[in-house]
Subunit: 198 residues, 2 copies
DNA sequence: CAAAATTTTCATCACACTGTTGATTATTTG
DNA sequence: CAAATAATCAACAGTGTGATGAAAATTTTG
């Protein structure tokens, strides 16, 4: 949709160079310390060329996030998970894009981007929940939905931070349990009573 | 602790001017578009003065976040909620600092700062949960803890976004229910079965 | 296949922002 | 009130920014 004809070879090369340079810098320091000049020095292109593609480093990052979202969505369609996406499936899709994910989830990535990526794919994951929530007020519904999304993003961030050692199934079980049953889901076997009084 | 003797009147005035100017700008645009020059023009002080207090706008924001954390913590001690903090109490404390919170939770605030604020006070809130989690692996424990914190931050953000209309008790019930029982906590009365198969 | 048309890349320029330094002015203390 | 201390400011050199029009590469067309 955005660019069905990326004919020009130069553009492809230039964009790749910018991308590589930017990701290298972004793994070293926060985006606010990265100047356009720096990106271009590293990429060995003229600064003007950068500006003909992006307005600033933030715009560039935005575009990479979109790219990642697109990539994940495309894979989803490929795999035919159109209706219901399991957490495990989602994690595997993200893992396929480690390079970008690691940076966006890392110390110099931002949670906002991470959330955008999660949110874009969380819809499918959360479809099942709507029936549970339909009894609540509009406000409560969106609050709960946001808590779910935040929980997903949080688990994913932990996962990336730890180098994605743990198997996707393990992590997705944690997430599913928490989302479905909260802390009670982790209680050994004892029954929790809903007593709120101190 | 940080400054028990803020004797000089000028400093107080200058810092207030910087703070006001910055917050005004931050409610209009993201921090990455805010220059030191701009802050000083608005605050009618010399740029050098800014640099004698902060290194850059990010440092300034950091300092405001710390200030907010301190304020909330101080109020906590005042109220004597040293051991267990209810969600409702926490929300009320945040509401007491609307001015800052609204900006940090708003469109140009960042989730990271919000999380820092929540995290700093979530310890007390979460003390109760540690017994539930102690059976899990280190990794699972921290994952779940992060999900809890993310949920709290998420609810708070929703709350601020909607202008803090809803009473703190309402919101805290949502949060408590979700954290304790997950989505199952919102199911009308029907029993959810832990069937994971599609 | 070559010349025109199109698109991308680059050198240069004027201007804004940065961070520092040392002089100037205000505040506190004895 | 005067000396000591601390904060504020004016000015400077260096760097990054964003725009413009020329040069170069690619694609299109006859």
């Amino acid at each position: 949709m955005s660019s069905p004809k990326k004919t020009d070879r130069r553009v492809k090369y230039t964009k790749q160079a910018i991308r590589d340079s930017f990701l290298k810098l972004l793994s070293e320091k926060p985006i606010e310390k990265i100047s356009v000049t720096e990106i271009c020095r590293e990429a060995e292109i003229n600064r003007g060329t950068f500006y003909s593609h992006y307005t600033d480093p933030y715009d560039l990052r935005e575009s990479l996030v979109k790219e990642l979202i697109e990539a994940v969505r495309a894979r989803m369609l490929e795999l035919g998970v159109s209706t219901r996406l399991t957490a495990a499936q989602m994690f595997k899709l993200l893992k396929e894009n480690q390079e970008l994910c690691r940076i966006f989830a890392g110390p110099y990535g931002d949670k906002e981007s991470m959330l955008k990526i999660i949110r874009s794919n969380a819809t499918a994951y959360m479809e099942q929940e709507s029936e549970v929530l339909c009894g609540l007020s509009e406000y409560a519904q969106s609050s709960v939905r946001e808590m779910l999304i935040a929980s997903i993003a949080s688990v994913v961030k932990c996962w990336f931070d730890s180098g994605m050692q743990e198997p996707a199934e393990e992590i997705s079980r944690l997430l599913d349990t928490f989302c479905a049953y909260g802390l009670a889901g982790f209680a050994p076997r004892q029954h929790f009573h809903a007593d709120d009084s101190e």
